[in-house]
């Protein structure tokens, strides 16, 4: 039942919203793997980011897509929690420091082992619109544990303008999506983070967008 509701939600609301109301210019779609397991790593400025990334994959893969999302935000109330877990199908993650990283990411690794498509925002939270904040290192633990699984960096521009953090009014802008080449595991976590950082910055620089002040 929930799987059907989920499909309905994505066919009737998300796809028309992302493809028609917003509109996407996707560069290098062919760099995206045709199937899971894969970790898609992206910058995060808006709730729309998740919907945009989920729309990059064909509908037949919808059942495999799982965004990683903050437990404290999405499971804060019952209704939102039901929606997040059953319709978006998030993997909730604890953002606190009390739990060791391996344990926090356990469910993500399980989902990857099942061949799922994981969407991850290493900034940890939606930052200021159209600005890249510093990436948290959790993603490097995941990369270390799953060295054979492709990690694809994606840079999104326009979603933060369309629906910035803390605003409810959607104002449509075309969204540019830049897909990067998959990241290789470079022996240690520090150099992985440096590599990811550089890759994201070079993807961001491909667009030459005017500053949004």
């Amino acid at each position: 039942m929930n799987a059907f509701l989920r499909l309905l939600f994505f066919v009737l609301i998300v796809r028309p919203l992302v493809l028609i109301v917003l509109g996407m210019n996707v560069r290098n779609l062919n760099r995206l793997p045709q199937d899971g397991p894969v970790i898609v790593v992206a910058n995060h400025n808006s709730h729309l980011d998740t919907l945009i990334l989920m729309s990059l994959f064909p509908l037949r893969l919808l059942y495999k897509i799982q965004p990683v999302a903050a437990e404290d935000y999405f499971l804060s109330n019952k209704l939102l929690g039901w929606f997040a877990l059953n319709i978006i199908r998030i993997i909730p993650i604890n953002r606190g420091d009390a739990i060791p990283m391996e344990q926090k990411l356990k469910n993500v690794s399980v989902a990857l082992a099942e061949g799922n498509i994981i969407i991850l925002f290493p900034e940890g939270s939606r930052g200021e619109p159209e600005r890249l904040s510093k990436f948290k290192s959790g993603v490097s633990f995941l990369a270390e544990q799953n060295q054979d699984i492709p990690i694809v960096p994606v840079f999104i521009h326009g979603a933060g303008q369309s629906l910035p953090k803390g605003d409810w009014l959607l104002v449509p802008f075309f969204c540019d999506v830049f897909i990067g080449e998959r990241l290789e595991w470079p022996e240690n976590r520090e150099s992985f983070m440096t590599q990811l950082d550089l890759r994201m910055k070079s993807l961001a620089a491909e667009g030459r967008f005017p500053a949004w002040e």
Partner: protein
């Protein structure tokens, strides 16, 4: 009734058959070209023609079905064009809500056409929206870049909504003014000639183009292309006038010249905009063509000019 079908005039039917025949010929030519020159890459040409099929298909489908559906189609084109424009230009964060109001002007403008309220249609954007948006803008309190923002926003609304909606207003004209297919006949005439002018300018330019017309803005425009387009469009304007319009011979020659020249100018104006913003195409919405603005650039000029020309002479 909102969705009452209009009665389809037999002249419209002939024109529609003509358009689809042309598309079939274009598809066949592109297939033959890639068959006999396997070394050359015709992907872009074939994509271009495929997109033409989709545009013509939706446009003619809505035109045949009924007027309101056609208006929805045109308002959707305006929406896509405005969105493309606003995504290209620098906008201010504080103007998000102002831009929302600008989008809202689209359904309202097309509603005036729906109820054939000409007086409101013709002043709504140039007067009311023009006065309202800067007012809404100062409410958010940001004065840095105020003139640039209000100026660029209104310019965008004028080209993507106001100018374009003139094409749609042809459908709201009194049907008695044109015994050859009414407003739909005029709309088909305008769109077909505008787009054929683009195509023939391009083809003549490719075949005989030597003299650069305005190398500073658009390096691909040649004098030969422009003149070839002018002659082709005028010939077509005369040939189709009896079928789709009330135009006399001399008036149809002038209509052809008007569409060819203003279409050329519209094309260059949008090229100048793109050059200023440092982009080659306005977007990627239409494979083989570029963005929406790349496709409707000529229509931005031909629609209001042809509308007022025909309205002055016959309505």
């Amino acid at each position: 009734m909102i969705f009452s079908t209009i009665h389809l005039h037999k002249n419209l039917l002939i024109a529609i058959y003509g358009i689809f025949s042309l598309l079939i010929i274009a598809s066949l030519v592109s297939i033959l070209l890639s068959r006999f020159n396997p070394k050359q890459d015709f992907t872009e040409l074939r994509q271009r023609i495929k997109t033409w099929w989709i545009i013509a298909g939706i446009f003619i489908f809505t035109l045949v079905l009924n007027k309101n559906l056609s208006l929805i189609f045109f308002s959707f084109v305006s929406f896509l064009a405005l969105k493309e424009y606003l995504s290209l230009i620098p906008t201010r964060r504080s103007d998000r809500r102002v831009l929302f109001w600008a989008y809202l002007a689209i359904p309202i403008q097309y509603y005036w056409i729906g109820i054939s309220w000409y007086g409101m249609f013709i002043i709504f954007i140039p007067v009311y929206v023009f006065l309202f948006l800067p007012f809404r803008m100062f409410l958010s309190g940001e004065t840095d870049g105020f003139l640039r923002s209000s100026g660029t926003l209104h310019w965008g609304l004028m080209i993507t909504v106001f100018c374009l909606s003139h094409a749609a207003y042809l459908l709201a004209l009194n049907p008695a003014g044109n015994p050859n297919g009414g407003g739909a006949g005029l709309l088909l005439y305008l769109i077909f000639l505008t787009e054929m002018n683009d195509v023939s300018q391009y083809v003549w330019g490719k075949l005989f183009g030597k003299t650069k017309a305005i190398s500073k803005i658009s390096p691909n425009k040649t004098l030969e292309g422009f003149i070839g387009g002018l002659l082709t469009t005028t010939l077509l304007a005369v040939a189709l006038a009896k079928l789709l319009t009330p135009l006399s011979l001399i008036h149809s020659i002038m209509a052809g010249l008007l569409i060819a020249m203003s279409g050329f100018i519209g094309d260059i104006v949008i090229s100048a905009l793109k050059r200023d913003l440092g982009v080659k195409d306005s977007g990627t919405a239409l494979p083989g063509h570029g963005g929406i603005l790349d496709r409707i650039d000529s229509l931005i000029y031909t629609a209001p000019l042809f509308f007022h020309y025909i309205a002055y002479l016959y309505y």
